[in-house]
Symmetry: C2
Subunit: 209 residues, 2 copies
């Protein structure tokens, strides 16, 4: 199909398609004349992936390209593709040279988790632990390791749902799922606190107004 | 102490203290002359609470006042105070008349959780479930209930750490802890995904760069 039809099929404006071509997010079509190219189903599929990662996952175009490059590199493992996708997701951790990663790494060691020792989420964890300590709340490696152990069944269930049909499918699911299930998890946590405080303190009383 | 000393003790500028007095966030001092008042330790304590809720917890002054009113109302239960604190926290759920709460309420019923059926986190949960469905990801009440069951041990551990020394302490801890442990939980979830994908897919390979 020509670029106009590709635009109609996917709902992506032609100007955006040309931008994606220049940025390497979309592979060039098969040249049929000096100014014409033919696009196929692989372009439609790739565009759906780009739209999902940028619009739903909130990735920048540069981060999207990193993920796409990773999932199309021969020999990439699913674990690597998931790692690349997670690494590219917002929030970008602070580039803070003073940030001490040791307490976060110690917590992960105590939890027995096999993780990349200096990936973005380790920096996020170290930043969160520092903010908790500054507010006078407990964020010792022991407490964090205990929370990790309690969270393990849930994250394993999430990873069990990752499709293993293709590396690209796995990475897309991981990037979208990581971002989109976060609000669900945070809402459930607050609701779980309501339930747990009724269990511990009793007397729910009326809903606060 | 006079207002100037209260400002020195707490690091809150006099202009801000006067604003808090006008807004009812800080009780008036004991009048010692027509334009002078005497403040005590209860004012220092109250100011620490206001600073914690606004600066660390991210509450608006109006939301802070709601929490403070709740925790100083005679007969308030800890569960009510926790509920008021959670209800006041950001993010404020969308005031969307079309939002269908039924799938979220069904999920909570399946999980066996005792929650206020139309509180802010129920709206947050319903919004998150709608966004997941729009992206083609599973957010059925059955899946959400299963995630809730997996999250229950963690949230019960968090609520077990709530101090029961006073209603004010409990509500402050709940408001601060709810907000400040969120980034910790999200970082741990991403790290847990790394660990779980090594377990499921093996071959971690090199850290993505």
């Amino acid at each position: 199909m020509r670029i106009g039809e590709l635009s109609q099929r996917t709902g992506v404006p032609v100007a955006t398609l040309k931008h994606y071509l220049r940025e390497g997010l979309l592979p060039r079509g098969r040249a049929t004349a000096r100014t014409q190219a033919e696009y196929g189903e692989e372009h439609v599929h790739r565009l759906r992936l780009v739209q999902a990662l940028t619009e739903v996952g909130g990735l920048t175009l540069a981060a999207t390209r990193t993920v796409l490059d990773a999932v199309t590199t021969p020999g990439t493992s699913v674990t690597q593709a998931l790692g690349v996708a997670t690494e590219a997701l917002p929030p970008r951790p602070a580039e803070d040279a003073d940030l001490d990663l040791a307490p976060a790494q110690r917590a992960l060691e105590l939890a027995g988790w096999d993780t990349w020792p200096d990936s973005a989420p380790v920096r996020q964890l170290a930043t969160a632990m520092r903010a908790l300590e500054a507010a006078g709340l407990d964020a010792s490696p022991e407490l964090v390791a205990e929370r990790a152990r309690l969270l393990a069944p849930l994250v394993r269930e999430e990873v069990a749902a990752v499709p293993d049909t293709s590396i690209a499918d796995a990475a897309t699911f991981a990037a979208l799922g990581t971002v989109l299930y976060e609000p669900l998890l945070l809402a459930l946590r607050r609701l779980g606190h309501q339930d747990a405080s009724v269990r511990r303190f009793g007397h729910p009383g009326q809903r606060p107004t």
